[in-house]
């Protein structure tokens, strides 16, 4: 497989792995939580490194996912105290964790290459650097298989808990009354989101992870009225957006992750404007058809 094809494939798989859980994130009105979780990855990685002393260890991903979960659970706990309003709880927890991470890095690992810049920005091309070869033939970037595993895990989780997720998302009170353990479902879902963000982070960087998780579902939400339709259109938008965005960034020689994030944003804006226009036209036509009131 050529390098460009492998990297493009990595982009597509990462986009799918992020966008599918993103459907429920958007429907639960938790979009900014993804931003919060993605910033908690840094302290998670630092603490993980503190324990393992190995930058390649898979435990780092688990540590980072746990830190992301800490943000989700912590802000939910702050919400439940009833002493805070609005979206403040998320904004309280993640800067504190991020600060702790930065301080840990500067005081303990000043001589080790754990660059906050690289952690925040991420790069598809760097993530695709390590190629997996089987019998002397390159079969694509190693990280592609990591993301494939994450995608499989996400799909399995969504398939198994689809009905429970659906009912807790749309009508949490009803869900609780029929005996669904909403707290458990929430925490499990948040862990899956956190794990996906963390894994995708290495491939895409913070900014593209948020874009991949939020923008395709948000765009699909504008276009659909039923959950299965929304999931299908999310998948289509994620794949085509990833391919087109990657190709455009490659063509314009722009930063890949940032270019793709902007491209996804432009798709959303275009669909939003188009659907507004369509609605406007429909109203006009309907208004034209009604007879003028008799005076």
């Amino acid at each position: 497989m050529t390098f460009v094809a492998g990297t493009a494939l990595l982009a597509v798989v990462t986009a799918l792995a992020c966008a599918l859980p993103g459907v429920f994130v958007v429907l639960r009105k938790d979009s900014m939580l993804v931003d919060a979780i993605s910033h908690a990855v840094l302290p998670g990685i630092v603490v993980g490194y503190f324990l393992t002393r190995d930058l390649e260890s898979p435990l780092l991903i688990v540590g980072a996912a746990l830190a992301g979960l800490l943000v989700a659970v912590g802000s939910e706990w702050l919400c439940r105290t009833g002493l805070l309003t609005g979206d403040a709880p998320q904004g309280l927890v993640f800067p504190a964790l991020f600060s702790a991470g930065v301080i840990l890095v500067t005081t303990n690992f000043a001589n080790i290459h754990l660059d906050t810049h690289a952690v925040l920005v991420g790069d598809l091309n760097l993530a695709a650097w390590d190629q997996l070869t089987v019998g002397g033939v390159s079969i694509g970037p190693t990280y592609l298989y990591v993301m494939l595993a994450v995608l499989g895990f996400d799909c399995a989780f969504l398939a198994v808990s689809y009905s429970r997720l659906k009912v807790t998302t749309f009508d949490p009170q009803f869900a609780a009354s029929v005996g669904v353990r909403t707290g458990v479902v929430n925490t499990a879902f948040m862990f899956v989101v956190s794990l996906t963000v963390t894994a995708a982070f290495h491939a895409a960087g913070a900014i593209l992870v948020i874009a991949l998780m939020i923008v395709p579902p948000a765009t699909a939400y504008l276009l659909s009225r039923r959950l299965p339709t929304m999931i299908m259109s999310t998948a289509v938008i994620a794949v085509t957006g990833a391919l087109a965005g990657f190709w455009l960034a490659y063509l314009l020689d722009a930063a890949t992750s940032a270019g793709m994030a902007v491209f996804f944003g432009l798709i959303f804006v275009a669909v939003h404007v188009a659907s507004r226009l369509a609605r406007h036209l429909r109203h006009r036509r309907r208004a034209g058809r009604t007879p003028a009131p008799v005076s």
């Binding site: 958007v26 009105k29 938790d30 979009s31 900014m32 993804v34 931003d35 910033h39 702050l78 105290t81 009833g82 002493l83 805070l84 309003t85 609005g86 979206d87 403040a88 998320q90 904004g91 309280l92 800067p95 504190a96 991020f98 600060s99 702790a100 930065v102 301080i103 500067t106 005081t107 000043a110 906050t116 810049h117 925040l120 920005v121 900014i207 593209l208 948020i210 874009a211 939020i214 923008v215 948000a218 939400y221 504008l222 722009a254 930063a255 992750s257 940032a258 270019g259 793709m260 994030a261 902007v262 996804f264 944003g265 432009l266 959303f268 804006v269 939003h272 659907s275 507004r276």
Partner: protein
């Protein structure tokens, strides 16, 4: 280090004065973002400040030829970009079924992504005075110059002046938007003014503390202040005071400790103030809730057992 030695050093003085100003302004104006339940808008603003700053830098280089590093020019660009991002998020939330949280996330990624694209262009190109432009990403309090400090002081005072001038309108719009509209105040105008002040409060701190952490300056002091007070005036004053004191203590600690960066230490100081407020403020806090619940339970028990004894 004695206090005198501390204040004799120009850099230390600037770091302290700069961060205290940022903390004060962000704390005061953050109260309105908090009460409108849109605290995270400051995170969107901080991220949108990056492309705004960079476009202003490029424009200044193109027009003036050299040195596009005037703080005022960069702040103007950041304020404009921040205001556009806020307007975009609020517009999408109002005119489509997408929620405000999702609209904010979309605005954040688009603007920050554009900023990263511009950063790559600037890094690859030949521009006079481009060094240190990435300080805007992660913040560096030790590079606050006298001009920076004066600019953020003046711009911050401008935002606070707007708040004082439109105090009545802001308060009414925050607590009773329908009544405000019914009385004939233009919702759009007041919202634009209010969010512009919040944008200014966020933007003046990005260079010193970085765009990731700036959200803490806007969210944490009001959340702490809310636990101590029940009036808007009290909340704004207390929140500004928490912001200023937290920033001062954090900056002072970071100078004492030497190698520890200023922004993160201030954020942790603010977080500590918040935790103490949440746990133990005498009016609204976890301790008070637990105590009153226990008291109510005991009273109920007494009532029930007392009744049982009488009949």
């Amino acid at each position: 280090m004695t206090v005198l030695e501390f204040f004799a050093d120009h850099t230390y003085r600037m770091v302290l004065a700069g961060t205290v100003t940022i903390g004060f302004v962000a704390g005061a104006l953050g109260s309105f973002a908090y009460l409108r339940k849109q605290s995270l808008i400051s995170d969107v603003i901080a991220h949108a400040a990056l492309p705004g700053t960079l476009v202003a830098f490029l424009a200044a280089v193109a027009v003036a030829g050299t040195g596009g590093r005037s703080m005022l020019v960069l702040i103007t660009g950041a304020v404009l970009a921040g205001t556009i991002a806020v307007a975009f998020a609020n517009h999408v939330a109002r005119t489509s079924k997408v929620g405000i949280d999702t609209a904010m996330a979309v605005a954040l990624t688009v603007f920050f992504g554009a900023g990263m694209l511009l950063l790559r262009i600037i890094a690859n190109g030949e521009f006079p005075g481009k060094g240190g432009i990435q300080d805007y990403l992660f913040g560096n309090a030790s590079v606050i110059t006298t001009a920076d400090f004066v600019t953020s002081l003046v711009v911050g005072m401008l935002a606070l002046g707007l708040m004082v001038l439109f105090w009545k309108e802001f308060a009414l719009r925050t607590f009773d938007p329908d009544q405000s509209t019914a009385l004939g105040f233009r919702a759009g105008v007041i919202d634009t003014l209010m969010f512009t002040t919040i944008v200014i409060a966020t933007v003046i701190g990005v260079k010193a503390v970085g765009l990731v952490l700036m959200v803490a300056f806007v969210v944490t002091p009001p959340a702490a202040a809310r636990q101590w007070t029940r009036t808007l005036r009290g909340m704004v004053w207390l929140s500004a005071a928490f912001g200023a004191v937290g920033s001062g203590v954090g900056a002072w600690l970071s100078i004492l400790l030497g190698t520890v960066p200023t922004g993160p230490l201030i954020v942790l100081t603010l977080f500590a103030i918040f935790l103490v407020s949440l746990l133990a403020s005498p009016r609204r806090s976890i301790v008070v809730t637990v105590l009153s619940r226990r008291r109510a339970r005991a009273a109920l028990k007494r009532e029930l057992t007392g009744e049982g004894a009488n009949t």
